[in-house]
Subunit: 404 residues, 2 copies
């Protein structure tokens, strides 16, 4: 008998008919002889409705009250899911985040899980019940309701799987798993059977939207193996786990593209120690996430810095840098319509020639490379947005990722 944690997202429990389908799937898994803890999100759309109502009564709702409000979305689905299970003869008990013992810090709307007291949950589980837990929410040490921020239900599932030492953790979503590239762009993309935490994290940071990074980080930290799979079919998904030696045989696990980027160039600033720090401190203080950074020291005591930011933050970045440029001199220019293309794979650590293969594939596809940055298991290039799809297809083929 295995202990399985399943998580169903908002689309999977979007209405009463889908909730009944989820109940059937849970019943099926249970009848195969498994114990189940199921984490559910709010019905898709509910959170946005609640936010609209909050904004109708108050221009700037407090984060504490926002948590009090938003947590009802999941509380609805847990009760309905438990009832749907009762309706088909499966014993089930719903748990709010507080009842599940999910204790967080006090950072409303973006709380971090501090600990999980799973005693009650384990007791009800061993008594033969399926446990339905509200994702996305917890309780702080003062009894206040907290929420975990975007992707919070995935985090709830992975944290609970760790706390109850589950044999499996299945994250059900509306895609089949993690692909070697976006299948809408690269027709020959294949589903990845197994991927390491680090590869998954690099793919997420490179623009692949399957899961939020912090859920993967949490899984990595507590060594929780999980599978991303679809709630609309029974295909096996992608298993995310600690790196094993055999994973290194594949040089590149996947190709990710993020088209919503812009490039900002800061030219001819005074080149002295601390100049770059001032630039990036100003951006950080404005909460702008900078990604690729390239610096060229000039020959005449000036330096040039180029970096990418999300396209919608260009003007914010420009404004944030104005006072710095007054001090350091120099000029600022920006260019949107930029895409980032990344190849990710733990195999890079033991294979040479990855960069050469990448650059050659891009050259043959007529794609000019604007910026390059590398990590141990990732190479990212900034390219012209209009050529991003063709570039992704060429690179996918060059690394032998196309399906047979």
């Amino acid at each position: 008998m295995a202990l399985i944690v399943q998580k169903y997202g908002g689309t999977s429990v979007g209405d009463v008919e889908r909730i009944k389908k989820v109940a059937e799937r849970i019943k099926h898994t249970r009848e195969e002889g498994n114990q189940l803890v199921v984490v559910v999100s709010a019905r898709s759309g509910v959170t946005n409705e609640l936010i609209a109502r909050a904004e109708a009564v108050c221009a700037n709702p407090s984060e504490r009250e926002m948590d009090q409000l938003l947590s009802i979305g999941e509380q609805e689905t847990i009760a309905l899911t438990a009832m749907a299970l009762h309706g088909i003869g499966v014993p089930a008990i719903s748990y709010t985040g507080a009842q599940a013992g999910i204790v967080t810090d006090k950072a409303h709307t973006k709380a971090r899980i501090h600990s999980i007291n799973a005693d009650a949950l384990k007791r009800d589980l061993h008594a033969g019940n399926v446990i339905i837990v509200a994702g996305f929410q917890g309780i702080d040490s003062d009894g206040q309701t907290t929420t975990l921020g975007r992707g919070g239900s995935d985090l709830s599932a992975i944290a609970i799987a760790g706390a109850v030492k589950a044999d499996k953790c299945e994250i059900y979503t509306d895609v089949d798993g993690v692909y070697t590239a976006d299948p809408r762009v690269v027709k020959n993309a294949r589903k990845i059977e197994e991927i390491s935490y680090d590869e998954m994290l690099e793919l997420a940071s490179a623009g692949s939207k399957v899961m939020q990074s912090r859920s993967v980080e949490f899984a990595k930290k507590y060594d929780v193996v999980f599978e991303v799979r679809s709630s609309f079919n029974h295909n096996p998904g992608t298993i995310v786990k600690e790196e094993v030696a055999s994973m290194e045989k594949v040089v590149v696990r996947g190709v990710a593209v993020d088209k919503n980027q812009a490039k900002v160039a800061v030219s001819n600033i005074t080149d002295k120690p601390g100049s770059a720090a001032k630039v990036f401190r100003a951006l950080a203080d404005a909460n702008i996430v900078v990604d690729m950074i390239v610096q060229n020291a000039g020959s005449n005591g000036v330096a040039n810095l180029t970096f990418t930011v999300p396209a919608n933050e260009v003007s914010k970045a420009t404004r944030a840098l104005e006072p710095v440029l007054k001090e350091l001199g120099g000029t600022i220019s920006s260019q949107d319509q930029v895409a980032k293309l990344s190849v990710v794979g733990v195999g890079m650590k033991t294979h040479s020639g990855v960069a050469a293969t990448l650059f050659q594939a891009l050259a043959e596809a007529g794609v000019n490379i604007d910026l390059i940055s590398t990590s141990e298991i990732k190479i990212t290039v900034a390219i012209e947005q209009a050529k991003a799809d063709a570039a992704a297809r060429a690179v996918h083929t060059a690394f032998g990722l196309d399906k047979a």
Copy 2:
């Protein structure tokens, strides 16, 4: 500085515009120098929507899960009300039933309040906040969410007023207060300024629908004075309190009519000790609430019993009595289209002639009396339903209740 508990029902907080109006009213009361604890219901209609969804996933939803589900209705309004107060510059904190320390027994969907731990609430109150508490809900000693059943938010407000020793408890609703008769029927009905708990209870049992009896009983038990008033105007309402001597000057406080009654007659049953008990035990076992009961012992060893039940329970009552009649002999007959008319007043205890005045008024109005029953402060008659409105007007005039 007075401490005031206010309760707003589902109509008063029915949408975001009404919630903003309630917030203005709270702000106004606070600016008069008062501390406030505010109990709110779910937006009107929300509970029915949730019940419909529950019934769509499960034919017979469990009571525990129903409580888990229904409690989100109030959790929405507390957060929105607190936000609306923030929006107009009033510090406010929302509390679920659990956070407010409302501890109940474990009877899901009809829990009784066991105790209230108001420490946190008092602390936040004394720090200058308005406290917004979810009505209708509590938590049991195992941390399970419970709800208090119909009229539960009134009960929450009265229980909290008792726990914090409030100076005033105001129950806001969609009527102006308690009237001497239903103003839709009796044009000359007047609003009652003060009424005793017992009179209020007798009016409720006689069909006046302003509040559920158990909230009034709770207020009486813990000596909580409360006022029923409208959230749509600023008129003074009706104050409900312990009986004082001056109240006895008024013989009849009000006239109540319940038109949804039926009369059931059980004739010629064996007249021996225990016969009546068997009849009413059978009805109680079928959860049928019997109201007026009249017994005539026959001369030939048989007895006749007549009683009233809600009109929609006649066939259930008839079925429940079939086995008893097999044992005791006798026949059963029923008549619907029956109304109950009651006059209520603590003054009856010290005034004679009330029954005579009542019967004479009915006679002059051409109304035949079918059954009569009396309590210390109430006389009830069963009459023909079609004549109930005319009877109410005649009796209202006869007892001098018409407005000047």
